[in-house]
């Protein structure tokens, strides 16, 4: 089961009502790598994340994480293996406070009865405080998450992702709806996270992708169109045709 890759997708296809959302897609990610996925709407970026996280089962092909097949597992099992996901729209628990959101995300207790009997440990408190610092939400810890701004919710969700202590983070359009300053701060945050974890970012915003300074994979009609540094990829005539040149 030795493999040089952390994540390895081979010939993955999935069809929805006759529409090939993913078409023999192959993609690999090395441990510690950060990768940006770009592509026009409908290229299959979110479907790809759905497949990795167990929400959608592929018709054919394999998805391996540390060499373990993911296609047989459901969402909680995959999440517990160390894959965290941030959704395109920020999805936090609106009725709970920022602190309660982070506490629920912390890796560790998952069985309902264990959660029922759980008491807040000093170590958990420290972990939550660290996440509050990292996401600059310390002043809002006791605020209800539903009342936060769009950008703050994005950051809270990234904080929850980190709370899970995943080895691999899948981040879907983290800067949608953010100001330029917030966008650049988010790029810094992701680079910081990438020092210890692998990251896959789906993003439309080219300035943001440039700020990340990482390898880019261009998806088109459910398969990989081009791969490489942003400058190389954006000079590729096929890429210009389907995406950048529009």
């Amino acid at each position: 089961m030795n493999t040089p890759y952390l994540l390895e997708m081979r010939d993955v296809s999935v069809t929805f009502d006759g529409f090939r959302a993913i078409n023999s897609l192959s993609l690999t990610l090395a441990a510690g790598e950060m990768r940006a996925i770009v592509g026009p709407n409908g290229a299959g970026k979110t479907t790809m994340m759905d497949i990795i996280t167990g929400k959608t089962r592929p018709d054919t092909g394999s998805v391996r994480f540390h060499g373990h097949d993911l296609t047989r597992l459901d969402e909680p099992a995959i999440a517990r293996m160390g894959i965290g996901r941030k959704f395109q729209k920020p999805t936090v628990f609106e009725a709970l406070s920022v602190r309660e959101n982070l506490l629920l995300s912390l890796s560790g207790l998952r069985a309902p009865f264990a959660v029922l009997m759980a008491r807040l440990s000093g170590q958990e408190r420290a972990r939550v405080d660290h996440l509050l610092d990292m996401t600059r939400l310390g002043d809002f810890a006791e605020h209800q998450a539903g009342g936060m701004s769009h950008g703050q919710k994005q950051w809270l969700e990234i904080g929850m992702l980190l709370g899970q202590e995943p080895e691999l983070l899948l981040v879907d359009e983290p800067v949608a709806g953010m100001t330029d300053a917030e966008t650049m701060a988010t790029a810094d945050l992701l680079r910081e996270i990438n020092r210890t974890r692998s990251v896959v970012v789906v993003e439309h915003d080219m300035d943001f992708v440039r700020a990340l300074g990482v390898g880019v994979t261009v998806l088109h009609e459910g398969s990989v169109l081009a791969e490489g540094a942003l400058d190389t990829v954006s000079a590729d005539p096929r890429v210009i045709e389907v995406y950048l040149g529009r």
Binding site: E75, A95, S105
Partner: protein, 381 residues
């Protein structure tokens, strides 16, 4: 209708729960005490009032059970009276056996209705019913096991919302039809009644009735505190998370079906306990208790009192049932219209129920929240 499935407004304060538990305890003790005063005393309370209060508090247990699953896990149950009635039947079986040879047919080992059906021995599921402790076990175990099987199947298949509500209605309706059958072994149409005593104490004596009311008050107070323990801590946060964004919890590594199952089974057991307390004080349990309308009424009690507050459920059950007692004596044919109107008015104008009237302004901010995202599904751009 959407309000019935959407998050309960501002439900994160439990300061009132302990206070409500004390009110229930004190109320039960005072009423019970007053009923034992001589009849000439101006403070004397009639036996009728005592059993009425016992009935209200038993219903409050059912309301508490409904609030746990509806207010905190977002499961709009329209069949919880089934668990209540099952608990009632489990206790009723023991009370039937306590009658012994004092029945019409004077048979010490068979309840009257079985002799009437020409049965010669107890069916196997009546074994052990002469023991009070066995009855207590059944009161919790029967609703618990049924809820466990039902919930496991429903939650695992990710059935939720209105579909789950309809299934709970079907569950209670099916049980009602089964219990109406004479051959089912629970007295058919008439149910179980004519009880004489409990643990050797005469059920019709004022002292027994007073004790039963106090016991009901104690059990309800404990149930309130236990429910608060369940919903106030981290598990309560998890319940709210599952209620508001179930699929998000899956990506955090939780299994929402297990979370819901735990609270669902606990809630069914509370309802069963309520039914057992009910039957000792009302003196009859029959298949009518499974009627779908009963379950719907219990949801209305919770809505009126204040969903997702625990204390509100108790308050709503007592208030609405007091109203029902008064109204049905006064204008019986209009009660159902009144109840329907009450539900409409609460849903439209009092989303936090009666509790919302003296609720703290602390949770005002909840009202301002626009739930931008209620489900992380369907994100494909």
């Amino acid at each position: 209708m959407n309000r019935l499935f959407s998050p309960a407004p501002g439900a994160r304060s439990f300061a009132g729960v302990a206070r409500m538990a004390i009110v229930v305890l004190v109320g039960a003790v005072v009423l019970a005490g007053a009923s034992l005063l001589p009849e000439s005393s101006p403070l004397h309370v009639s036996a009728f009032t005592v059993s009425l209060a016992g009935k209200y508090l038993s219903y409050a247990m059912l309301a508490l059970a409904v609030d746990l699953v509806w207010g905190f896990a977002g499961i709009l149950t329209l069949g919880h009276a089934a668990f209540f009635a099952l608990g009632g039947y489990a206790m009723g079986m023991y009370l039937m056996r306590e009658i012994g040879a004092r029945g019409v047919y004077g048979n010490a080992s068979l309840p009257d209705f079985m002799i009437f059906l020409s049965w010669t021995k107890l069916p196997w599921y009546w074994w052990g019913s002469e023991h009070f402790l066995w009855a207590c076990l059944l009161v919790l175990a029967v609703p618990g096991v049924l809820a466990g099987v039902f919930g496991w199947l429903a939650f695992r298949s990710r059935v939720s919302g209105v579909y789950l509500s309809i299934m709970t209605q079907a569950l209670t309706y099916a049980l009602m039809l089964a219990f109406f059958q004479n051959g089912f072994g629970f007295g058919g149409n008439n149910g179980l009644t004519d009880f004489k005593d409990i643990l050797g104490a005469d059920l019709h004596s004022p002292v027994t009735r007073a004790v039963l009311l106090v016991v009901t008050g104690i059990v309800l107070a404990l149930a309130l505190m236990l429910s608060r323990f369940v919903v106030a801590g981290r598990f309560g946060n998890l319940l709210v998370a599952v209620r508001d964004a179930e699929s998000r919890t899956r990506f955090l590594g939780y299994r929402p079906e297990q979370v819901k199952l735990l609270v669902w089974v606990f809630s069914a057991m509370l309802a069963g306990l309520g039914g057992a307390l009910y039957v000792t004080q009302v003196g009859i349990i029959n298949p009518g208790e499974f009627a779908p309308a009963n379950s719907i009424e219990s949801v209305i009690w919770v809505a009126v009192g204040g969903r997702g507050t625990l204390s509100g459920a108790v308050l709503g059950a007592v208030l609405v049932n007091m109203g029902k007692t008064v109204f049905t004596a006064w204008l019986p044919e209009f009660w159902l219209y009144g109840l329907g109107l009450l539900f409409l008015v609460t849903t439209l104008f009092l989303p936090k129920g009666v509790m919302g009237l003296f609720g703290p302004a602390r949770h005002q901010s909840v009202q301002d929240v626009t739930p931008e995202v209620s489900s992380p599904e369907g994100d494909e751009a």
